[in-house]
């Protein structure tokens, strides 16, 4: 058992996949730990779905290796790999009942009938669809169909469950519910999940590890809070919502802090980072919610205090998205100020403001 735990459940080694005119997967290396939810996150066309299909065996790779439980799977067809896919369109067999759908994989393995019945019953309980065995997919709601698709794949006890944007077709509220459901199911069953999505919030909610992909390449992999708080590249920072990106170079260090000068001449303070050379740093990013509004009489002494003018305010319920141009350099910052603060509600476009963020909130970017 110990041996199995230490081998990654799924491994991609230098995997390359080409389609006519496009390099879909560009020398990707990754390891997926046993029993965890691993998410491939990225915009459309970044190669995440292709990578998933390569693991499933629905596409053949051009270079590299794919391993499941340490065994090379390159030439093995999908019906002999020990993984199961939940498709974006769900692909439930319309001419079979819920029971028939879930039992399909077991029947292909020539499992004896009583075992099939047992397995199906357990699955229905697990996903919360008891009593729905005889229904047809057309008689189910979106969320229910979702669960049948998951049950159908899980009943086979695959080594890894592959999910291709499974919640994309659901409305917002249902999506959030299903995210919780999926995480619960995974916890109960303990099977490794390889999840693909373009929705950052979804990835943050559900994953143990997130790997961000872009144009076929893997840009960064890590825990959700890592990816969110310390994205390494401008692309990832922007993708995760840290829309305030200031390019610049380190001009001074000291006191555990770094001072960067942006291309426009702004001086920004960040915390010194062990393990990254100062000349590797290309800028900083700041999340909008980390920018604070200071009373206009507070002075400019201190790190990262800037004067600016409010350009636009968009009410978003719990926060107000505020666009501010900095007086010194004209840069545009986006801040999310909490709408419960009186100071914030009294603001209006055209007014002068004083904004600030702590050096801790400056995330250093490497590319």
């Amino acid at each position: 058992m110990e041996n199995r735990q230490s081998i990654p459940c799924v491994e991609l080694r230098n995997v390359v996949k080409r389609f006519p005119g496009v390099l879909a997967v560009d020398h990707v290396d990754l390891e997926i730990e046993q029993g965890k939810i691993f998410t491939l996150l990225g915009p459309s066309g970044c190669g995440k779905t292709t990578a998933l299909r390569l693991v499933a065996g629905l596409e053949t790779l051009d270079e590299g290796d794919i391993l499941i439980d340490g065994k090379v799977m390159n030439d093995i067809p999908p019906y002999r790999r020990n993984c199961s896919t939940v498709f974006q369109s769900l692909a439930l067999f319309p001419h079979m009942t819920v029971e028939g759908n879930i039992a399909y994989g077991l029947e292909r393995r020539k499992t004896p009938n009583h075992e099939i019945r047992k397995g199906v019953g357990e699955m229905l309980e697990l996903v919360g669809l008891e009593g729905m065995e005889k229904r047809r997919p057309s008689q189910l709601s979106g969320g229910q169909r979702q669960r049948v698709a998951v049950a159908r794949s899980l009943v086979l006890k695959p080594r890894v469950l592959l999910l291709d944007e499974p919640l994309a077709a659901l409305d917002r509220k249902l999506r959030k519910e299903m995210q919780v459901e999926l995480k619960r199911i995974q916890g109960e069953v303990g099977i490794t999940f390889l999840y693909v999505t373009h929705d950052q919030k979804e990835a943050l909610a559900i994953s143990d590890t997130i790997a961000v992909m872009r144009a076929g390449k893997l840009e960064q992999a890590g825990a959700p809070d890592e990816i969110y708080n310390t994205p390494r590249t401008k692309f990832i920072a922007d993708f995760m919502g840290a829309s305030n990106i200031l390019s610049g170079k380190v001009i001074a260090t000291g006191d555990g802090k770094l001072q960067l000068e942006t291309d426009s001449g702004l001086k920004v303070i960040a915390l010194h980072n062990e393990g990254t050379g100062n000349n590797e740093i290309t800028g900083i990013s700041v999340h909008p919610e980390l920018i604070e509004l200071l009373p206009s009489d507070a002075g400019l002494e201190g790190d990262n205090r800037f004067r600016g003018r409010v350009i636009e305010m968009i009410y978003q319920g719990d926060f107000i998205e505020t666009k501010i141009t900095l007086s010194q350099t004209g840069e545009l910052l986006t801040a999310h100020f909490p709408s419960r603060l009186e100071m914030v509600t009294r603001l209006s476009p055209g007014e002068e403001v004083l904004v600030h963020w702590s050096p801790k909130s400056s995330n250093t970017l490497l590319a």
């Binding site: 999908p78 002999r80 498709f87 974006q88 692909a91 067999f93 399909y104 292909r108 794949s153 086979l156």
Partner: protein, 263 residues
């Protein structure tokens, strides 16, 4: 809105007129098939004697059997071949794909006589097989397979083909996927093809005439011979009512299948 009302009535009358003209000849034939008077309009009494006579005519029964045989074989082969071809044309891109699509259309876009005549030439001059039920079946398949191809092709575009991938993903090989997923999903289109091809083949005369040899007797050929050589071909009336009832049944069948397809 008097004028509008009048226009409306005229339109309705027009529609009724068309249907009356279209159906009248056949309906009269059917009615006459129950009349005990041989010809003419004089009604001398309701009778089923013509139907009985048909049933007692060995030649007619023989022709019926042959027609059923030929049409069934042609329908089965056309539907199977057509479904496979539709699958291949839809899913794969290959050299000659558009050429194949165009040439499959050919038998039904040129006048039937031409295709029938070319087959006649082919059978007698090139491969020299005796004209008989085989040649009729071949001719019928040549005309019906295109229909099956395009009906199934139309359905293929509306199917979610990740179903195939799901089936493979869950452990089924290609043959099993065909059996358990593809055929059930395509079934409505396959059945509609069969429902269209069978009556067409059963009723066909113009093509069968060309490729039937001496002595091969399908029902339409039998009817034609009655028409040509019989002074008072009264039994034709009886036979024709059967020919009218069958399509109606066929249509009901197809509407039922269409309903199933839309679920």
């Amino acid at each position: 809105m008097k004028a509008g009302k009048i226009a409306d009535i005229i339109q309705r009358l027009g529609v009724i007129l068309v249907y009356v003209v279209l159906w009248m000849p056949i309906v009269i034939l059917v009615i006459l098939s129950f009349s005990s008077h041989a010809i003419g309009l004089r009604w001398q009494g309701f009778t089923l004697q013509w139907y009985v006579q048909v049933l007692n005519t060995p030649k007619a029964m023989e022709a019926l059997k042959n027609s059923l045989f030929v049409s069934t074989v042609a329908t089965v082969i056309s539907t199977i071949g057509g479904t496979l071809a539709a699958y291949g044309l839809y899913k794969y891109k290959f050299r000659g794909r558009s050429a194949l699509r165009m040439s499959v259309l050919l038998p039904i876009t040129i006048p039937y006589v031409v295709t029938a005549a070319t087959l006649l030439i082919f059978f007698t001059q090139v491969i020299r097989i005796p004209m008989g039920y085989i040649t009729i079946i071949i001719a019928h398949i040549t005309f019906s397979a295109p229909l099956a191809v395009f009906i199934v092709l139309g359905r293929m575009a509306r199917v979610d083909w990740t179903l195939e991938e799901a089936s493979a993903d869950l452990g089924a090989d290609k043959l099993t996927t065909w059996r358990k997923v593809i055929v059930p999903v395509l079934l409505p289109a396959i059945m509609i093809s069969a429902a269209l091809i069978f009556p067409w083949s059963f009723n066909d005369f113009t093509i069968t005439y060309f490729v039937a040899g001496v002595g091969t007797m399908t029902l339409p050929i039998y009817i034609f011979s009655l028409m040509q050589y019989c002074r008072t071909p009264v039994v034709i009336n009886a036979i024709s009512s059967v020919f009218v009832v069958l399509p109606i049944i066929g249509l009901l069948l197809v509407t039922f299948l269409q309903r199933k397809e839309t679920t």
